[in-house]
Amino acid sequence: MTSAAEPPNLSNFKDISSLRNDFPALHQNVNGKPLVYLDSAASAQRPQSVIDAMVTQDEQNHSNVHRGVHQLSQRSTEAYEGSREKVRAFINAQYHEEIVFTRGTTESINLVASSLGGKILTPDDEVLVTWMEHHSNIVPWQLACEKTGAKLRAVPINSNGELDLNEYTRLLTDKTKIVAVGHVSNALGTINPIEHIISTAHKVGALVVVDGAQSVPHIKIDVQAMDCDFYAFSGHKMYGPSGIGVLYGKKALLNDMPPYQGGGEMILTVSFERTTYNKLPCKFEAGTPNITGAVGLGATVDYLNSIDFDALSSYEADLLNYATEKFLELPGGRIIGTANKKASVLSFMLGDIHAHDLGTILDQDGIAIRTGHHCAMPVMDHFGIPATGRASFALYNNIEDIDRFILGLKESMELFK
């Protein structure tokens, strides 16, 4: 989150402040006011190039992928596999077989929990999650533990919403087989020290599954440098389509894991006596995939490759700092999640006005925020609150958006005076 050193080829990158123009959905009125979209952590808007790539796929190239001998099937296969290669390069995975297309982060984690968890966990083992996990990185592990008899443990967080790393080290034992942790917290914005978490887990022989849903749109990911065993993320949080996501897994691990779902695409031969499974990554892609979504995801990666992530980090940090400063000027303003290292997420309470009411009032001003428990009920329990309002800032937001947001909060206070 430090300000970026001047990259040598800055001219190849787009100017961050101009990116807003690429997103058609942002240029509309909501309730008679220009839309201010501060809900990108739930789902981000898509640039025109991604929308166009999906329309082209549907208008001209759509057919089922793989095995088809005709032209359209070949085009679709090339586009689909081309996207896999783009994603591989984007996160610097070593092999394209390590990129499994899924419906999203949730399915990616369920795949690992079910397949890997089912294979390696025993009643003597433990799975370690954290208090700040999204429900999608808790419940799949609960299910895996119920099936195998393994125990689920959770690393606590401190009052700033940071992981208690001493407790982490204490909870990490030779019983720990899997550590499942979010890179960035959706409810708090906390950026976890992921390299430290991974290397420490590896020392006791545990495998690490990273929920990257909230990090991929903000941080340049290098899975080899990070040395994670699995990395899960979603298209729609990174300005791409929904219904498509990625599971990265180390090749040797994926090879050893049993299939997650059975069906077409994932087999080599089928008879009633015996089925042999396809090679990676097809082994984990049963059935006709979300072809258009994958093509859209490829275009999303192209779009993100045109952006300098150092400049983006610095831009988003400026937005967060400005919003934090302005918000704290409001009487009764309380920020939930004040970690030292934070992504551009502002989770907050305002006096005794319930977040749900704030959400409705801001919406009347054309301002979209998220309200509720953000699928992170343990986080809410930790802070002893039922819900927060959450404004999340993305590459297309600007200072005017934040001024409108603060003004909306002031109006809410006036109404509830």
Binding site: H354, D357, T360, Q364, G372, M377, M380, A387, L415, F416
Partner: protein, 151 residues
Amino acid sequence: MNDLRELYREVILDHNRHPRNFGELKNPDKIIEGVNPLCGDRMTLYVKMENKKIQDISFKGTGCAISVASSSLMTEKAKGSSFEEINALFEHVHEMLTGDPTAAASNLDALDKIAALSGVREYPTRVKCATLAWHALKNAIVGSDDKISTE
């Protein structure tokens, strides 16, 4: 701001600030829990009843202004009412929040102060906040112990 005043009328803001019949009831005949998982609201309804009539009623919990005000207004109206009257009120409230607006208008008199919630119908995502308490009350009088959830 004007539209919002239609939703957050003074009666609602007042009942949110100072909810009536708030707190636990001693020796209740029924305790019903209600949750709105969408916004994290939790409310508990305490009811004393005799001869198919609500003798006493109170509620406790956290929620948005619509949910708290609706619970407060509901307890005010329900106290002393017969089950039959409650059932009729339940239908009127439902009609007011989700039904045909012209038909609903004719019932607003019967609803008295509760009619202040009529603005909620313009905010479909908030209707559940207003109905949670009523569903809990309905469960109390039909003798169900089921936890209420808006989802």
